[in-house]
């Protein structure tokens, strides 16, 4: 039986001094979804 659960995903983007944004990607995921897709949606 599949467990009933919640998954936490943390994505981060660094904002540089010149205003440009660096995508740091995922810091953590329980790997149940496509991680790159998850971050790109943000």
């Amino acid at each position: 039986m599949e467990p009933i659960s919640a998954k936490i995903t943390i994505c981060a983007k660094r904002i540089k001094e010149d205003g440009t944004i660096e995508d740091l990607g995922e810091l953590l995921s329980s790997h149940l979804l496509d991680k790159e897709e998850q971050c790109q949606e943000l």
Binding site: I4, S5, A6, I8, T9, K13, R14, L24, L28
Partner: protein, 196 residues
């Protein structure tokens, strides 16, 4: 066999989480693996920050609670864990002056006894264990109940281990590979909690 939460129920639970109100991001620089029984971070730093919360969709409609906020680093540091708390106030933090020698030892000796509240009880995180402080001797020693909140009482806890007061309800906590930041760096955090 297979079981699942229906999509409607996922959305209902997410909305219930949102109805809890504001959540504040806390970040930490200590080591450790996050556990469901935890009540505090590993070596929390800086002040907690506000963010926005909203339902979003990962797999089914409204199945995800999302917190978004902007963090500005006030030091050169490596973040290792974070959590969402119900209150903005920073916790009292200290370290053990003496090792804890057994899982039934009912007292701890902190470095800075007088930094701790004199009204009881309150909970503290010491490594992976949560203790309930029930009294103090007025100068050096805090008396504790061991292994509360479902945590496991540790047989030994070294001196210098951080002690962190529970400050607000902890909604979620995660540890991760270190995120190295310089003073002034700004990071937009996106924290998603998806019901499955």
């Amino acid at each position: 066999m297979s079981g699942t939460i229906s999509s409607n129920t996922r959305s209902t639970i997410v909305n219930s989480l949102i109805s809890l109100g504001s959540q504040y991001l806390a970040v930490g620089v200590g080591s450790g693996v996050a556990s469901a029984t935890d009540v505090a971070l590993f070596s929390e730093v800086q002040t907690r920050i506000s963010g926005t919360v909203a339902p979003t969709t990962t797999t089914t409609s409204g199945d995800t609670y999302q917190w978004v906020g902007l963090f500005t680093s006030t030091a050169t540091q490596t973040l290792t864990n974070l959590g969402l708390f119900s209150t903005k106030g920073s916790p009292i933090q200290d370290t053990l002056s003496q090792q804890v020698n057994s899982n039934s030892q009912s007292f701890i000796i902190p470095i800075s006894y007088y930094s701790w509240p004199s009204s009881y009880p309150f909970n503290i995180q010491v490594s992976t264990e949560v203790m309930q402080v029930v009294s103090g001797n007025g100068s050096t020693t805090l008396y504790v109940n061991r292994g509360v909140n479902g945590s496991t009482a540790l047989s030994t806890i070294p001196a210098s281990t951080p002690i962190t007061q529970a400050s607000g309800q902890l909604l979620a906590k995660s540890n991760f590979t270190g995120l190295s930041l310089n003073t002034g760096d700004q990071v937009q955090f996106y924290i998603n909690i998806q019901l499955q």
